[in-house]
């Protein structure tokens, strides 16, 4: 049985090799179809993963409210440079959020930009004043030492935890643990812990947390206050911000929609006129992204399917031509005892071999193509084995489906007519 099967395939190949150019062109049709299916699925999957990663970093059960400098008041602050521009989230609001959503974990965050020094090493980065809960909510981990404790907050302790990148910058040669970092010239903080590298984009504004220094929020409030004075050129601008960010972690992602609407209602009341607070819901963004990616993927799949369809039509075309050309051969085989099923088998196998060859080469090209796309267009791609199998399966299926009609025609020829055919 297997030997017979192999014989059919081998002799099928032989027949296809009679018309090498024609067979390879037909094969190419399937090849491009399969390769494009794999490549497009890889691009789609890559984009999906990228988006997922980004939003997962922000936490899919988190809500994020962030203070934002209102744009339209820029000119008014220019006029009276000594009046501080007050905006953003307040401590009282954080309390209100916690009271309104008792099941949530609310984390207050204050961000201050300051130069930091350790010996000859120097870096300007963000000092994140926050609470012990921060670590769990952002899903970060301590690599060495410990994280901030409530006692640090109570005592207004001058201790800090360093992001992995910042630790490397300030302490390239020594272990930072229990060493001190000098902030803005005269404030000293003892390093009690170092965070594990996150490798995420999420952070304090545009500064990834890896590059930040973390201190107790009460310490931050005491040392830096709520007023920020920035000098630009000859003029000063003064701002008053209590909190830069409040992270709200819901018990699970199912609670996110409810939490989001409570949070929005609450903040809308205080910040309706000034658009100085922005609420970001990673889960919503993720859903939107998934939705748009789904459309994107459908479009890609349709395009790829069309190219496979075209390949399939090519196969049908060639098989019809083959059947017509080989009418006499069909008659001979029938005279020598072939049943209809044998003829169907023979031409289906030829169509199958044709598309499977295209499929095999197509798989190879299809696996290589996404890497080139990544290289040339800097587009993340991800090839899943099941996509490769799918594409190959479709190609084999296309060969069979489009081979059925020609094979059926061949089998149903009248043997007498077929033998008479020139």
């Amino acid at each position: 049985m297997i030997r017979d099967g192999w014989r059919i395939v081998r002799l099928g190949l032989k027949s296809l090799l009679v018309h090498k150019l024609r067979s390879s062109l037909t094969t190419a049709g399937i090849l491009f179809g399969v390769a494009s299916v794999i490549a497009m699925l890889a691009v789609g999957e890559g984009a999906k993963r990228e988006a997922l990663e980004r939003f997962r970093d922000m936490g899919v059960s988190n809500l994020i409210a962030r203070s934002k400098r209102p744009a339209e008041t820029q000119s008014s602050s220019e006029q009276s440079s000594w009046t501080a521009l007050a905006y953003g989230l307040l401590y009282s609001e954080a309390d209100l959020i916690q009271a309104s959503i008792p099941s949530a974990v609310v984390v207050r965050i204050r961000e201050i930009k300051r130069p930091m020094m350790r010996g000859e090493y120097f870096h300007t980065s963000i000092i994140v004043g926050t609470e012990p809960k921060f670590l769990g909510v952002t899903n970060m981990e301590v690599r060495e030492g410990r994280w901030l404790a409530s006692i640090d907050n109570k005592r207004l302790a001058n201790v800090c935890v360093l992001g992995a990148t910042l630790a490397r910058i300030l302490f390239p040669l020594e272990n930072p643990m229990d060493q001190t970092v000098l902030v803005a010239g005269n404030d000293r903080y003892r390093v009690v812990g170092i965070l594990r590298e996150q490798g995420r984009t999420a952070g304090a504004g545009s500064t990834p947390y890896d590059e930040c220094m973390f201190v107790p929020i009460n310490t931050s409030r005491r040392r830096f206050g709520e007023q920020v004075t920035t000098r630009s050129g000859g003029s000063f601008s003064r701002e008053r911000i209590e909190l830069n960010e409040v992270k709200v972690q819901m018990p699970s992602s199912d609670d996110v929609p409810d939490g989001a609407s409570i949070l929005r209602d609450l903040l809308d009341e205080n910040h309706k006129n000034q658009s100085d607070v922005v609420v970001t819901v990673p889960l919503e963004l993720l859903r939107q992204e998934e939705e748009s990616k789904r459309m994107f993927n459908i479009v890609l799949a349709v395009i790829a399917s069309i190219s496979l369809l075209v390949g399939g039509i090519g196969i049908m075309n060639v098989m019809l031509a083959t059947v017509t050309e080989r009418t006499r051969e069909i008659g001979i085989r029938r005279a020598l005892g072939a049943k209809k099923k044998h003829i169907i088998q023979q031409f289906l196998v030829e169509a199958g071999v044709l598309s499977a060859l295209g499929g095999l080469v197509g798989v190879t090209v299809g696996i290589a193509l996404p890497q080139l796309i990544t290289y040339w267009f800097d587009q993340t791609t991800h090839t899943l084995p099941q996509h490769v199998l799918l594409a190959f399966g479709i190609s084999a299926g296309v060969g069979l489906v489009f081979g059925i009609y020609p094979a059926w025609r061949a089998a149903n020829m009248d043997p007498v007519d077929a033998l008479r055919h020139e």
Partner: protein, 247 residues
């Protein structure tokens, strides 16, 4: 051998009042119109007649490539006139060896592969079929050409391969259609000698459609058709025999 009263076991193929009609628009063409005849074991029978007399129709029926409109066709005592397409394929594959005017080898296959085709459809391809193919190729003088393609052979050689192929399934009879029609006279003589040789050594039965009196002269009997009916059955030696003599 040609004694009409011989044992009925010796009758390997038999037409009983066979009709084959074609509807051509409003006309009914009676390509065969009540033919009865017998082929006996070891026979060398030619079917002759003018163009349009029904020779090809008869050959197709004898070869189970077609079914009679009415009447019986018995092969080895079994009525095959109304068998299914698959069953007829089996009859062709096991009982009949075809030899065609234009050789009809499959061009992309080697001589060996061509020889194995009939057994392949019986599910009998393997070491045995290779051995047999080699034996028969030797038998027709082409033992050294097993790996060749048909188009690398002369016409006479191709027809030898075709004869070997027709013998692969140990058929009840060989059915030849103008087997020497495409050959020059020297090659024709060689092929006819080969037929004689096969017949002498293997006792094979041969039915051959031909126009050619030279071919007919080598046979035992000639069945003459006219307008779809048996005109006469001529024993070699040219004694005319009345049609339907078996009845």
């Amino acid at each position: 051998m040609t004694d009409p009263s011989s044992n009925s076991d010796d009758i390997i193929a038999e037409f009983v009042d066979v009709h084959r009609h074609y509807q051509m628009g409003d006309d009914l063409v009676r390509a065969l119109n009540g033919v009865s005849m017998q082929v006996r074991r070891g026979d060398y029978l030619t079917i002759m007649g003018r163009s349009g007399s029904g020779k090809s129709t008869m050959l197709n029926l004898l070869g189970c490539l077609d079914r009679p409109t009415t009447g019986e066709y018995r092969i080895g005592g079994r009525d095959v006139s109304q068998l299914s397409d698959d069953a007829l394929s089996d009859v062709r594959g096991t009982e009949i060896g075809f030899i065609f005017q234009s050789f009809n080898l499959i061009p992309q296959l080697t001589v060996l592969e061509n020889l194995e085709v009939p057994l392949f459809y019986q599910g009998r391809v393997g070491a045995e079929s290779r051995k047999k193919a080699k034996y028969l190729a030797d038998r027709v003088g082409l033992g050294q050409r097993l790996g060749h393609r048909p188009l690398e052979l002369s016409g006479g050689q191709q027809q030898r391969v075709a004869i070997a192929r027709a013998l692969m399934n140990d058929p009840l009879f060989l059915l030849a259609d103008e087997a020497t029609g495409n050959l020059d006279s020297n090659t024709e003589a060689e092929i006819l000698n080969l037929f004689d040789d096969i017949r002498a050594k293997d006792g094979i039965t041969i039915v051959m459609v031909t126009h050619n009196p030279i071919v007919a002269a080598r046979a035992d009997r000639a069945l003459w058709l006219k307008d779809g009916e048996v005109e006469k059955l001529v024993e070699n030696g040219n004694q005319a025999v009345v049609a339907g003599e078996h009845a």
